[in-house]
Amino acid sequence: MSFDDIDRQLVLLLARDASQSTTQLGRRFGLSQPATWRRIKRLRDLGVLTTRRLDLDAQKLGFGVTVFLGIKLATKGRVSLDDFERAIGAIPEVQTVDHVLGLYDYRLRVVARDLADFERVLRRRVMTLPGVGDVEANVMLSEERRPGPL
């Protein structure tokens, strides 16, 4: 698989704004609309561009709190990781689940309306799952995404 500079620029632009038309995008590189479309299609077929996402303002939609949770499983070996992952992933407020190596076994990103709502999710949904041991919560204050090494 090879990617040239135009491919990399396209990925960079689409990772930031997926609403631009292929005509607009092509113009930046002096490419025709069909040529641009073919490049984007190839990037999708190869799996570089995976899913189109809608970016919403969580605050304005009433989700004032985002918390990163580190979870350590208490009874490793006795709990099925598949079951745990399925159960934790099914909680609507849980936005991301990553299996990690290190201080914790799982990292969760959880949204809630406010801290009281977060406590409800934590106590009723997360802590009640079998195998949950140590939990560390860090309340997010700010976030920025970087374009990455393209």
Partner: protein, 151 residues
């Protein structure tokens, strides 16, 4: 500021951002003209910020994903600003979050392999200003990554 009809539109668009206006209108049971106006207003009011593509960095040759949990030296008033400014200059950093809790800042970092990671960690990360403590967690698998809001 937004009602149940807006919520229905946002729910559909969140699940399928590329949805054409006529299809969206059918799903929420309104006329396309009405739905278009609502979507425009949601954009103007900043509830919809935009659309973007998720990138799979593994296909681009990056196989190592690390989460760095950083504590900063809080005796220095500009510690956060200095650290974040410098972290932005590291191309391998994909996300920067600040927290209230045990961790001050989290960096999400990618590298092509472990040797590359070691080089970036030593030369670019450990040289960032005002680090009091740093912990690395390696991502083994993404279980859920949609970041959807429970609308």
């Amino acid at each position: 500021m937004f009602d149940s009809e807006d919520r229905a539109i946002l729910r559909q668009l969140q699940a399928e951002p590329g949805l054409a206006m006529p299809d969206l209108a059918v799903r929420v049971g309104q006329t396309p003209a009405k739905v278009s106006r609502r979507v425009e207003r949601l954009q103007e009011d900043g509830l919809i910020l935009g659309q973007r593509w998720d990138v799979d960095w593994r296909i681009l040759g990056y196989s190592v994903f690390v989460s760095l949990r950083v504590s900063l030296d809080k005796t220095i008033p500009t510690a956060f600003d200095d650290f974040i400014k410098a972290a932005r200059e590291v191309p391998q950093v994909l996300e920067i979050q600040t927290f209230l809790g045990r961790v001050d800042v989290r960096l999400s970092l990618i590298a092509t392999d472990l040797a590359d990671y070691q080089a970036v960690y030593r030369e670019e990360i450990l040289t960032l200003p005002h680090i009091a403590d740093i912990e690395a967690l390696m991502d083994v698998a993404r279980v859920k990554a949609n970041r959807d809001l429970p609308l």
